[in-house]
């Protein structure tokens, strides 16, 4: 059964130095508050996993939390580059960042295999691309092929993803820790089911989960920790609760371009008083 705890406690208990951590949310429901808590607790040497490492992972990479990144698209959606990500890859600041790079279809299937308890997934993909010959984090080929035992056809194989921790944001949970999310649900269900441990931050904790069109429910017994974090997906959005803060994504471009300006942001907004208040607020309502 999921334990309902504060966000600070959830991160302290579930995320350790050296862990592989998947924070998912496909443009919608991105777990920003949880990401800032990971920065605040100064986790190090993480292997970050995410299909779309956007501003969330730019912050974690710039703060020095990550040594490795497994991903398929790294940009600031609608704006341009991720400057902290680029600085790490192009100049090794604040530290070297080892990459393992895939396509979206490959990453999605890797989560599906992880959630399904099988060691690899098959797809038609990667053929003829440069991605095909890039090594994985272990230096071995990350993209391999497999022969169909029924037809003899050659297909692409990618290894299952089984992160140590998955972190997602959802609209609601009930007091038993059952989690409900709807709208664009991305790959969050697969991320939680593929991981050893999980944290779900929610807009609110309610007595009863009302049905919503197209909603996914993650039963309490597959979730590790639930933490109330109202507004915890800002600057992304939570359908039915908040709108995307497009100005923030624009503003991030300027903040993240410059190491000093980014470092000031980190000191003031994450480690400083504003950050502590945000953390305290996120812990309420459990």
């Amino acid at each position: 059964m999921a334990e309902i705890v504060s966000l600070a406690d959830a991160v302290a208990r579930a995320v350790h130095d050296g862990d592989s951590v998947a924070m998912e949310g496909f443009t919608h429901l991105i777990p920003f508050a949880a990401g800032r808590e990971v920065i605040r607790q100064r986790r190090r040497d993480l292997t970050l996993i995410r299909m779309t490492p956007d501003v969330l992972y730019d912050q974690l990479i710039g703060a020095g939390c990550a040594s490795r990144l497994i991903f398929s698209w790294g940009g600031n959606p609608g704006v341009g580059s991720l400057h902290r990500f680029r600085d790490a890859v192009e100049h090794g600041w604040p530290g070297a960042l080892q990459l393992e790079e895939h396509s979206h279809a490959g990453m999605a299937n890797r989560y599906v295999a992880g959630a399904s308890g099988v060691p690899f997934a098959i797809l038609r993909g990667y053929s003829g691309t440069g991605l095909e010959s890039l090594p994985g984090l272990d230096g071995q080929p990350a993209i391999r092929s497999v022969t169909c035992p029924f037809t003899g056809e050659r297909l692409t194989a990618v290894a299952a993803l089984n992160p140590d921790v998955a972190i997602i944001h959802a609209q609601r949970a009930d007091r038993a820790g059952n989690v409900q999310l709807w709208g664009i649900t991305g790959v969050q269900k697969e991320a939680v089911l593929s991981a050893q441990r999980s944290i779900v931050t929610v807009e609110e904790i309610v007595d009863e989960l009302r049905p919503e069109p197209g909603a996914i429910v993650l039963p309490s017994w597959v979730v590790g920790y639930v933490a109330a974090a109202p507004g915890g997906s800002h600057p992304s959005y939570a359908l039915g609760y908040s709108a995307r803060d497009n100005d923030y994504y624009q503003a991030w471009d300027a903040i993240s371009r410059d190491r000093d300006r980014f470092s000031r942001w980190l000191a003031e907004e994450v480690y400083g008083e504003a950050g502590s208040l945000a953390s305290a607020g996120a812990g309420e309502g459990g």
């Binding site: 496909f26 299909m51 940009g75 959606p77 053929s127 440069g130």
Partner: protein, 276 residues
Amino acid sequence: MNATGAPAPAAEDPAEFTADEMMTACAARALRDGMTCFVGIGLPSGAANLARATHAPNLVLIYESGTIGARPDRLPLSIGDGILAETADAVVSVPEIFNYWLQPGRIGVGFLGAAQIDKFGNINTTVVGPEYDHPAVRLPGAGGAPEIAASCREVIVVVRQTRRSFVERVDFVTSVGFGDGAGYRERLGLAGAGPRRVITDLGVLEPDPATCELTLTGLYPGVTVADAAARTGWELAVSDSLEVLEPPTAAELAALRQLTQAEEGGQAELEGAAPR
């Protein structure tokens, strides 16, 4: 017309328009009513939505966020914009959109951008520079593009044309066009036909039927072959039946401007960013 985004005189319409507007209108015309279209954000999304607002009201827009049949009345700012989910016929998970919808070849046309494209229509959105491990520029990466380029029945690429973006050989093949020429896709067993049209801010290129090399087949009013050649990093082949393309109509411009009015900065996205 120049290609710097400055207004260019229209041949038939008194309204002024930009090179990007010309390009978007041209890309929209490549879509037929009733088609199914896998849409990337930025220029492709603008064109697909313009087509739906004008000549192709039954165009089915599919975004990799899992929204099928989205009907936004403004340009979405990202592929996960709430307006896509709220107006879609169906919203499915990301594994499902790739496995059930894209992979079997159900989708007619894939609409992609590029940071670099070469003379065989191969696309790079990964790294600029010869060494992957020490890139001169780290680009966003693949996103959904490799499998969109492989599995959609055909592909349309929308990209601003410069000597930096139009290169003899891409530094990294993120998404396969025609590889090293005719027969390459067939040898790989790729289901789709590959890029049928590359639409730029100067005109249109199409693969030569025999060699698959991108060949200039259309120019916007006021653009010369020399202009296009000067912005191409290989010796540009020109079709015998080169045509001058119609400028955007007043209706197209009005529809496009209405769509972009509510949008803030969506077109400022990094050029060549693959759909996310």
